[in-house]
C-alpha cells in the first residue's frame, strides 16, 4: 500500500450496545486526497463507526488515531478542533435560524465578544457559492426544501475548513442537479488534500466518486480495497455476503383489476387539479423532484391534511376521508417518509408500535387482550422477519428494521389502498429487496399500492404506472415499457413531454 499517513484512523475498534456487539475489530484509514466509500447494509455498523470517528461515541476497545497519534478519549469538540467534519444522515439544522447562522453555528466568528455578523456573512457566502446555495443568507432554514437544507448542511461542514469530511448518505434528498454539484465539491476537496468518507446506498455514485472502499457486514470488514476492477454486482456480493438475485421482483403481466381509487380535480397542499386512477393489483408510482407535491397528494388521500376534489370514489365509497381514522376505516393506510418523526413512536417498544392501529380491533369488552396482541405481534414479526425481542424500544433497531415495523403495523387492518412515501429511503439493499417483494405480494392480493419515491430506478422497475408531478400538477403519466428514467427525469425537470399525458387524461374523462 501507499506510504501516505492517514489523517484519521480507527484501529481494531470494538463497540457494543446493551450487550450486542455492533463493531467487531474494525480498521479503517482515511488518507488525504482520497474519497473513501463506506458500504454496508443497514445494521452493519456504519453509523456506529461514523460516531466513533467523530467522537460522538467512545470505542469499548481499540483506538482512534489522528495524524498517526492515538487519542485516548476523542470528544466531538476535539474532533472538530482536529478538522473532522460530519454531515449526518439526519438533518441537524436549527430550523428557526437563518442559513448563515446555521452555517456558523458553534464556530461563530467573534469581535469584542459579540458575533461578527459581517465576517460570518463573508465566510458563509463563500461556502454557499461553492455548494450552489443561492438563496439569501438570511432565509430561515425552515422555509427551504429538504434538498436545499442538505446543501446548507454540507456548506456548514465546509465552513469549518475540514481536513476530514464524513458524508452520511448526502444525496438521499438531493435532486440530480444538486447531486452533481456535490460531486464537483467533493472532487475539489479531494484535490485540496481533504480525506473524504462517503457513505451511500447508491452504488453508481460510489463508483463515480470514490477510489477506495471499505465494506462492513455484521460488524466485520469484508473488503478494504481499491474500487478498480470491481463492479456493482461484486460490491453487492461483498455487502450481502452471497449471490444476489435481481433487486426488483419481476413485473407481472397484470390485467388491471377493478378500480379501487378514482379522483378527479383533486387538490391538497400544493397539489392542484390532479386526476388519479388506481386499480386493484397495481403499483402506482408518484415521481418528480423533491417537494413537488408528492407528499401532499398522499396526505390528502389519507385525510391528514385538508383536501377537496370534484369527484372521488375509493373502494366504492364516495368522497375523500375527512380524517385519518376515517381513512383507516375505509382501508387506506399511510407509511410516512420520515419514519423517526412521523411513522414511529421511537421511545416505545416494537410491540406497542405494531399494536397501535389495531388496539380497538383486538380489545374484548373494552379491555386489551394480551394474548391476542402477543399472537398478532409474533405473527407479524415472523412474517416480516423483524429480528429480536419485541419489547425493545424501536429506536434500538436499524433503519431498515424500523421501516419494516412502520409497514407491519398496518397489515392487520387488511388495507385495500397502501400509500407509501419513499419507503426505501436510507434502507439497505437487502431490506429494499424484502420490501419490494412484500409490495408485489400485496398487489398480488388485489391491493392498490401508491408509491411516492425519490429513487427513480424504483419507479422504473417496480411500478406498473407512474405519475410525474411538477409544481403540484400531474405533468406526465407513463405505463409499462414507456416508464424510463429519461422520461421521468425529463418531465420532472420540465423538459417537453410527449403526447401521452393527453391520452391518459382522455381516459380518465371517460
Amino acid at each position: 500500500m501507499t506510504e501516505v499517513r492517514p489523517i484519521l484512523e480507527a484501529r481494531g475498534v470494538f463497540k457494543g450496545f446493551f450487550g450486542n456487539p455492533v463493531l467487531k475489530g474494525i480498521d479503517i484509514a482515511l488518507q488525504p486526497g482520497r474519497v473513501h466509500a463506506l458500504l454496508g447494509e443497514n445494521g452493519a455498523g456504519k453509523s456506529t463507526l461514523i460516531n466513533l470517528l467523530s467522537g460522538a461515541l467512545t470505542p469499548d476497545e481499540g483506538t482512534i488515531a489522528i495524524d498517526g497519534k492515538a487519542v485516548a478519549r476523542l470528544s466531538p469538540s476535539m474532533a472538530r478542533a482536529a478538522g473532522i467534519g460530519v454531515v449526518q444522515q439526519e438533518l441537524s439544522l436549527a430550523s428557526q435560524l437563518s442559513i448563515a447562522e446555521n452555517i456558523g453555528l458553534g464556530a461563530y466568528p467573534k469581535r469584542f465578544g459579540l458575533i461578527d455578523y459581517r465576517a460570518l456573512a463573508r465566510g458563509a457566502r463563500d461556502v454557499c457559492e461553492l455548494v450552489g446555495v443561492t438563496e439569501p443568507l438570511d432565509t430561515p432554514v425552515s422555509s427551504l426544501s429538504l434538498g436545499r437544507r442538505q446543501m446548507v448542511e454540507i456548506a456548514k461542514a465546509l465552513f469549518a475548513k475540514p481536513r476530514v469530511l464524513i458524508l452520511d448518505e448526502p444525496t438521499s434528498s438531493l435532486s440530480a442537479h444538486e447531486a452533481s454539484v456535490l460531486a464537483d465539491v467533493i472532487f475539489t476537496l479531494r484535490d485540496r488534500g481533504v480525506a473524504v468518507l462517503y457513505i451511500s446506498h447508491r452504488l453508481n455514485e460510489v463508483r463515480a466518486l470514490c477510489s477506495h472502499v471499505t465494506v462492513l457486514k455484521d460488524g466485520g470488514i469484508t473488503a478494504d480495497r481499491s474500487l478498480d476492477g470491481i463492479d456493482g454486482e461484486g460490491l453487492v456480493r461483498l455487502m450481502v455476503g452471497r449471490e444476489t438475485g435481481a433487486l426488483f421482483p419481476p413485473r407481472p403481466d397484470i390485467v388491471p383489476g377493478p378500480l379501487r381509487l378514482r379522483t378527479k380535480g383533486f387538490s391538497a397542499g400544493i397539489v392542484r387539479d390532479a386526476d388519479v386512477l388506481g386499480h386493484a393489483g397495481e403499483v402506482l408510482g408518484i415521481g418528480g423532484l423533491v417537494g413537488q407535491g408528492q407528499e401532499d397528494l398522499l396526505l390528502g388521500l389519507y385525510g391528514a391534511i385538508p383536501a377537496r376534489s370534484i369527484e372521488t370514489k375509493i373502494d366504492g365509497q364516495s368522497g375523500l376521508p375527512n380524517n385519518v381514522a376515517a381513512a383507516n376505516a375505509a382501508g387506506i393506510v399511510y407509511v410516512p417518509a420520515d419514519r423517526k418523526h412521523e411513522g414511529l413512536v421511537l421511545t416505545h417498544s416494537i410491540a406497542s408500535n405494531i399494536i397501535l392501529p389495531s388496539l380497538a380491533k383486538l380489545a374484548r369488552r373494552g379491555l386489551r387482550s394480551r394474548g391476542a396482541e402477543a399472537d398478532m405481534i409474533g405473527d407479524l414479526a415472523r412474517q416480516l422477519m423483524i429480528k429480536g425481542d419485541v419489547a425493545r424500544p424501536v429506536q434500538a433497531l436499524s433503519g431498515g428494521n424500523q421501516q419494516k415495523v412502520a409497514l407491519a403495523k398496518w397489515l392487520p387492518l387488511d388495507p385495500g389502498v397502501l400509500l407509501l412515501n419513499d419507503p426505501t429511503r436510507g434502507v439497505d439493499i437487502e431490506t429494499k429487496r424484502e420490501i419490494y417483494k412484500m409490495l408485489r405480494r400485496f398487489t398480488g392480493e388485489g391491493r392498490l399500492v401508491i408509491l411516492a419515491s425519490s429513487d427513480t430506478p424504483e419507479l422504473v422497475h417496480l411500478c406498473d404506472r407512474v405519475l410525474v408531478l411538477r409544481e403540484g400538477r400531474v405533468v406526465l403519466e407513463l405505463r409499462g415499457d414507456a416508464i424510463t428514467e429519461e422520461a421521468i427525469v425529463g418531465a420532472a425537470m420540465g423538459i417537453e413531454a410527449d403526447g401521452e399525458t393527453r391520452i391518459v387524461r382522455e381516459e380518465v374523462a371517460q
Binding site: V345, H348, L356, L359, A363
Partner: protein, 313 residues
Amino acid sequence: MSLLKTILRNPPLLTFLLVALVWLVAGLTLRGFGAFGHLRYLLELASVIGIAAAGQTLVILMGGIDLSVGAVITVTAILLPLLSPAWDPTGLVGVVLALAIAIGIGFLNGLGAAVLRVPPIIMTLAMATFLQGVLVLVAGGSAVTVQNPAVILLGQTRPLGVPAGVVLWVVVSAVVLMLIHRMPIGARFLALGANPLAARLSGVSLTRNTLILYSLSGFFAGLAGILLLGMNRQGYVGIGDPYLLTSIAAVVLGGTSILGGRGTYAGTIPGALLLVTTTALITVVNASPGWRSIMFGSLILGLLLISGREARR
C-alpha cells in the same frame, strides 16, 4: 447488583421503598409518628392528593398539564353545599351535579387545548384564574358548611377502621391503572404523549383523546374536592390551592416523564404518600410557616433528585 439495578430502573418501586424507609426511620425516632392512628391519618391525607393527581397523571402522560386542578377542587367544595337540594335525603343529587360541573370544566379545558390549539399550560391557568373570580362572586369571603349526608359519610366514616376516603382512593387507583395499562385508550394517549404526529398518522385522534383526558382530569379533581369537603366539613376560597403543586409533584416523584409518553399511576401513588409524609415531618419541626414552606419546596426538589429523575436515554 442486578436487584439494585432493577429497583433503580423502576421508579414506582423506588418511590415506594423511599416512603417505607422514611416511615421506618421516622417511626423509630419520632414519638407518635409510627402510631396506627397517625399513619392512617397520613393515608387519608394522601388520598386527596392521590385522587387529584390521578387526572393529572393521565394528562401529563399525554404530554399536557392541568393547572386548574386546585381551582376545580375549590369549585366543587364551595358549590356542592349550595347545589345540594334539601329534598334529597341521600345527598347524591348534589354530588352528581358537582361532578358534572367539574367534568364540564375539564371538557372546556380540552376544547381549548384541542380545538382552539391554546397551549394547555395557558388554557388551564386561564381557566383557574377565571374560576377563582367566579368563586369570589358566588361565595364572597365566607366559608360554606356542608350538610350533604353523602359527603359527610365519605369524609367521616371508617368502615372496618379504614377511612372511606382511602377506600375511594383504592377504587380510583384500580380504575386508573386499568385505564392506562389494560384499555386501548391508555396505549393511545401514551403514544400521543411520546410522538403526537406519529400517533395521529396511525389513526389516533388527538382531539377526541384530549377531550376525554381533560374531562377525566376535571372529574378526578372534583372527586378530590368532594372528599376534601367531607373531611373538612367546610368549603372556602383557597381550599384547593395546595393541591396544584402537590398533584404535579406526586406525578413527577413517581417517575412519570413531565414531557409525556412514559410513566404510570403506580408511581403517583407512592408519590402522594411521600408528599404527605414530608409535610408531616415538617410540621413536627417547630418552625414558622415561612420556614416550613421553604423546607417543603427544598425537600420536593431533593426528593425529585433521588426518585423522580428522568431515566437517561
